[in-house]
Subunit: 329 residues, 2 copies
DNA sequence: AACACAAATGACAGCGCTGTCAATTGGATT
DNA sequence: AATCCAATTGACAGCGCTGTCATTTGTGTT
């Protein structure tokens, strides 16, 4: 900054960070100079000198899924209101990229790290632990949280959802998913537990393709499912995108939903209530998850109290709409 | 870094940045120490000392829309491969937040700024110009680019799309949108031009609600549209989410698509081809946009050649599917 | 053995801010 | 008028790296 606009560097620093403590005269001169030069302070220098980054890091597996967009939205709202910059990094569902992302964030000396998932490389865990920054693991429940853990039991959600289908009298319940990330795998495992508990077979009823869950994939899978001799009488889709694709494909194939086949989604995305027929789903509370995570991070940073809860289960809620109904058999 | 692991700081720096130029013996000692301490270099210090941030800034209006997720995906792929960190900031469709975002990014001394849109506050323009970092404005075409501009004409896209509906024999063509951001407004303006050119009235045919475009909103608008005495025989929706909601609501209302009403979306989102009936739309090339932007940024940073193109029009493509058809009248 | 040259390592200063403490200024108080 | 105190302002050093140049070491050549 051209302190050639009359004053010492430190006064400029003060005027910019806390205008009130500088006299009006100087403040005005400084503001004029700042404006004239379109001066923007070097954050790297500021961070280095103050040893505060005023930044928090967030690691998500993808930006390509609305659930994380919603979650990030909530995080942003809380953090920006508190003067923190949010640094979002995408691990692309890879543990090694996640470890890399952690290094990047720690290198920036973020003041907290919020990370989706509870499975990390051993090195990633060490980095997080030794860094001594508050760590919040989210979306899942951990047996052994690094620090704070806010999530829901994906396995129980899969189990309970399957139970509702079984309770509706379905026996041949298909499970469809794309490339199984950790949370999808947990839901699948819940499904299998529920099936086994009711002495129902699941072998041959699980359809998985390596792509990420999309409407297109849902349509494609439903299409191949329909070519079999015995079509499932209910299908539990790993997320609502798959479910929507399945729903659409059923229409094309002349399969009636829910009369011929029940369809259950997951996540209760915004559109679920507005499809035709409307889509039953399992609501996960992304927004709340984001808010709780952000607030937990902030309390941990200012550590007013370390009576902080170490683990919060935000649960889930099964939403029954038109796409699932009692079996006619 | 505990150079208490035997060597000078500068050697650690070298070993970490360019292992090849350090002897195997030292390198090993250093790696061992780094591992032991879970040492992560302070990026702020590095950036300050080297006056390189190895970061590029991206400003998007929202994370809550897949088109930007797709776009960011492409940016990430190109930049991460080139060793740049991508810093994403969300302006939430606000010009003042955008200006703030620009300050944040310039403060971090990002080496290029990629920004969605071509309308900025005067101060934002000044900041960008005086900063001397390469600036890439995208998604729209600018009359007066700050630096590089890669986009498409939203107005022409709106115009041409409307033309195809007119060419199908439709006369009462509705236009529905949520809260009109700049690009939506441009498409609307294209629609009006096309209608006027064919001597068709558009007054009373434009329905706008202040929310962001969602499936829910599309259903809601279609519902209110259907309550009128004379329902439009075609509807141009500002994006595919609205169109999907409209499509679903038509089914609920017993309106046949396209027999009773044609529906045209925008952006050609992934699901458009898989709805039932499949959705006609206007393909915008987000992925290509992202790749071109990233590559333009990289060339500008290394400025191998400044024979760089200043403006690229990536165009759009009207995709006709089942939801639009010739009018029966 | 003497020399030249490349490779490996280190010393030093400085990037642009801010924490800390000292100096100055201008009333208010007695 | 002398004293005191709060409000302003500045001096200085240092945050943890890296650019630059100097020094040391090792190898090959004649």
């Amino acid at each position: 900054m051209a302190k050639l606009a009359n004053v010492s560097a430190i006064t400029v620093s003060r005027a910019l960070r806390n205008p009130d403590i500088v006299s009006p005269a100087l403040r005005q001169r400084i503001e004029a100079a700042v404006d004239k030069l379109a001066y923007v302070p070097n954050l790297a220098a500021s961070r280095l000198a103050s040893s505060r980054s005023h930044a928090v890091g967030v690691i998500v597996p993808t930006l390509y899924n609305v659930i994380f967009a919603e979650y990030l939205q909530a995080l942003h709202e809380v953090f920006l209101g508190s003067g923190f910059q949010v640094v979002v990094v995408n691990s692309r569902y890879s543990k090694s990229e996640e470890e890399q992302a952690i290094r990047t964030l720690l290198g920036q000396r973020v003041e907290a790290i919020i990370i989706v998932g509870v499975d990390h490389t051993p090195m990633a865990r060490r980095l997080l632990k030794q860094s001594r920054v508050p760590v919040i693991e989210t979306f899942e429940l951990s047996e052994d949280p690094i620090d704070i853990n806010i999530g829901l039991s994906q396995t129980r959600a899969g189990f309970d959802a399957t139970q509702t289908l079984i309770a509706n009298g379905h026996q041949k319940i298909g499970f469809v998913l794309g490339h199984p990330d950790v949370r999808a795998a947990a839901r699948l495992s819940g499904y299998k537990q529920a099936m086994e508990q009711s002495n129902l077979a699941w072998e041959g009823l699980v359809t998985s393709l390596p792509q990420h869950s999309t409407v297109a994939l849902g349509a494609q899978i439903m299409n191949s499912l329909a070519e079999r001799k015995n079509i499932p009488d209910a299908v539990f889709c790993i997320d609502d995108n798959l479910a929507l694709g399945a729903l659409m494909q059923c229409r094309k194939l002349g399969l009636r939903v829910p009369e011929d086949i029940s369809i259950l989604g997951f996540h209760d995305l915004e559109f679920a209530a507005y499809t035709s027929p409307s889509l039953s789903s399992v609501a996960t509370h992304r927004y709340e998850l984001g808010q709780l995570s952000a607030n937990a991070a902030i309390s941990a940073i200012v550590k007013t109290h370390d009576n902080k809860e170490k683990q919060i289960d935000v649960g889930y809620k099964i939403i029954t709409r038109q796409s699932t109904a009692k079996s006619k058999t």
